[in-house]
C-alpha cells in the first residue's frame, strides 16, 4: 500500500503540467508578443469605454531606448484589453488561471526537489516544503486576484 506521503501524484502531475506548459507557453508568447488579435474583439470596447491603462511615457521611452524606436510598447494595454473583452474575457481569464496553476505546480514541485536534494534533515525538509508551498499559495492568491479583477 503506497503511503500517504507518496510523491507519486505530484510526480505524475509534474509530467502533465510539463506537457501543458509547452502548449500554454507557445500560446502565451504568441498572443502576448506576436498576434494580439487572437480571440479578441476589444477594439470596439476601447471605442466605447475609452482608453484602458497603458505604459507610462517613461517606461515606453525606456523600452524604445533599449530595443529601438520601432519597439512596440503595448503589452500592459493589450493584456488589459484582452481581459476586458466582452466576448472572450472568460476564455482568457480561464486560460491564465490554468496557466498560473500549472506553472506554479510545475515550478514549485521542481523547487521542492532541489530543496530536498540538499536538505536531508527530516524537520528541515518539512519546513522547506511548508515554506515553499506557502510561497506558491501566496503567489496563487495574488495571481488569481490579478487575473480575475483585471479589466472588470
Amino acid at each position: 500500500m503506497a503511503s500517504s506521503k507518496s510523491n507519486a501524484v505530484n510526480w505524475f502531475l509534474h509530467r502533465i503540467t510539463g506537457t501543458f506548459l509547452v502548449f500554454m507557453l507557445i500560446t502565451h508568447f504568441w498572443v502576448q508578443h506576436y498576434d494580439h488579435s487572437v480571440a479578441s474583439v476589444t477594439t470596439d470596447v476601447v471605442a466605447q469605454e475609452g482608453e484602458l491603462p497603458t505604459y507610462s511615457d517613461e517606461a515606453a521611452a525606456g523600452v524604445k531606448a533599449k530595443f529601438g524606436a520601432d519597439a512596440e510598447v503595448t503589452p500592459y494595454n493589450v493584456v488589459m484589453q484582452r481581459l476586458a473583452d466582452p466576448v472572450y474575457a472568460v476564455l482568457w481569464k480561464g486560460f491564465n488561471i490554468l496557466f498560473l496553476i500549472v506553472a506554479l505546480h510545475h515550478g514549485f514541485y521542481g523547487l521542492n526537489n532541489v530543496l530536498t536534494d540538499y536538505i536531508r534533515n527530516p524537520l528541515g525538509r518539512v519546513m522547506a516544503r511548508v515554506l515553499s508551498w506557502s510561497v506558491a499559495l501566496v503567489l496563487l492568491i495574488i495571481g488569481l486576484y490579478s487575473v480575475i479583477t483585471a479589466g472588470w
Binding site: S3, S6, N7, A8, V9, D117, R120
Partner: protein, 240 residues
C-alpha cells in the same frame, strides 16, 4: 606504447587528503585498463590498493573513475582511453563514495540500500512440486535488468546520489524493478512502499548518467521510469 598513468592515491593512515601520483607504464593498445593498474602494483608500487577479482566484467569489483568516467577497469581497453585524452590515463575511486584506501571504496552504504529494497523473490503461496514457471515473454520484461553485476558505477555516477547520499540510487532501484516486474513475485506493494519515499524513486530526474556509466549497457533510466509508472498506478488504485 608508453603511457602516463595518474592515480588518485589516499592512505588514511599517512595522508591528510587524497593526491595524484603519476607512473610510467609500458602498454599494448589491446591491454585492459586493469592491466595498467596491475603493472603499477606488481612492478612499481606494491602499496597501491584496488579491488579486482574475475577481470572479465562479471564480478563487478573494479568499477572506478577512469579518465573522468565511471567504468569497469577490466572491461575497457587502453586504445579506447588514449584516443581521446592523449597518452595519459587517470584513475580515481568512484565519486561520492567514502574511500578506504586508494581506489578501494567503502561499499557498505551501497549494499545497505540494495538490501533495503528486498532484492529477493517474495511469494507466500505454497511451493509448487517442481518450480515456479516463467515464460520467455515474462522473462523478457526483466531480462535487461537481470544483467546487473552490482558494480556501483551507475549509483556513483548519479548526480542525485552526489547531492543526497541517502538517495537509494539506480542500482538498488533497478533491483526493485527486477523483482517488482517478475511475474512470480507478489511483493509489489511492500517494495513500492520502500522506493516511493522521499529518498527514493522521485529523486531520479532522468539524467541518464546511470545508463552512460553501466558497463552492461542496461537501460536503467527506462526501467526506473517503468517503476515510477507502476508506483503512480498503485497509488491511484489505493486512493480509489
Amino acid at each position: 606504447m608508453d603511457l602516463t598513468v595518474k592515480i588518485k592515491r589516499y592512505n588514511p593512515e599517512k595522508d591528510d587528503a587524497p593526491h595524484w601520483e603519476s607512473y610510467e607504464v609500458p602498454a599494448d593498445p589491446l591491454d585492459s585498463a586493469l592491466a595498467l593498474l596491475l603493472h603499477v602494483k606488481w612492478h612499481i608500487d606494491g602499496t597501491l590498493s584496488l579491488r579486482k577479482s574475475c577481470a572479465h566484467g562479471i564480478c563487478g569489483s573494479d568499477a572506478m573513475q577512469i579518465n573522468g568516467e565511471n567504468k569497469l577497469a577490466c572491461s575497457v581497453l587502453v586504445k579506447d582511453l588514449v584516443d581521446d585524452s592523449g597518452e595519459t590515463v587517470t584513475f580515481a575511486p568512484l565519486p561520492s563514495a567514502p574511500v578506504i584506501k586508494d581506489l578501494v571504496i567503502d561499499q557498505s552504504r551501497f549494499f545497505e540500500k540494495y538490501r533495503s529494497v528486498k532484492p529477493w523473490l517474495i511469494n507466500d503461496t505454497p511451493e509448487p512440486e517442481r518450480e515456479r514457471p516463467q515464460s520467455p515473454e515474462e522473462h523478457e520484461i526483466i531480462e535487461d535488468a537481470t544483467k546487473c553485476i552490482m558494480c556501483g558505477a551507475c549509483t556513483h555516477a548519479c548526480p542525485s546520489t552526489w547531492a543526497d547520499p541517502d538517495y537509494l540510487g539506480p542500482a538498488a532501484m533497478l533491483k526493485a524493478y527486477r523483482y517488482t516486474f517478475d511475474t512470480r513475485d507478489d511483493g509489489t506493494e511492500e517494495r513500492l512502499d520502500i522506493v516511493d519515499s522521499p529518498d527514493g524513486l522521485w529523486k531520479c530526474y532522468t539524467i541518464f548518467n546511470c545508463n552512460q556509466a553501466c558497463p552492461k549497457e542496461i537501460d536503467i533510466t527506462r526501467w526506473l521510469s517503468a517503476l515510477k509508472r507502476r508506483a503512480v498506478t498503485s497509488s491511484a488504485s489505493t486512493a480509489a
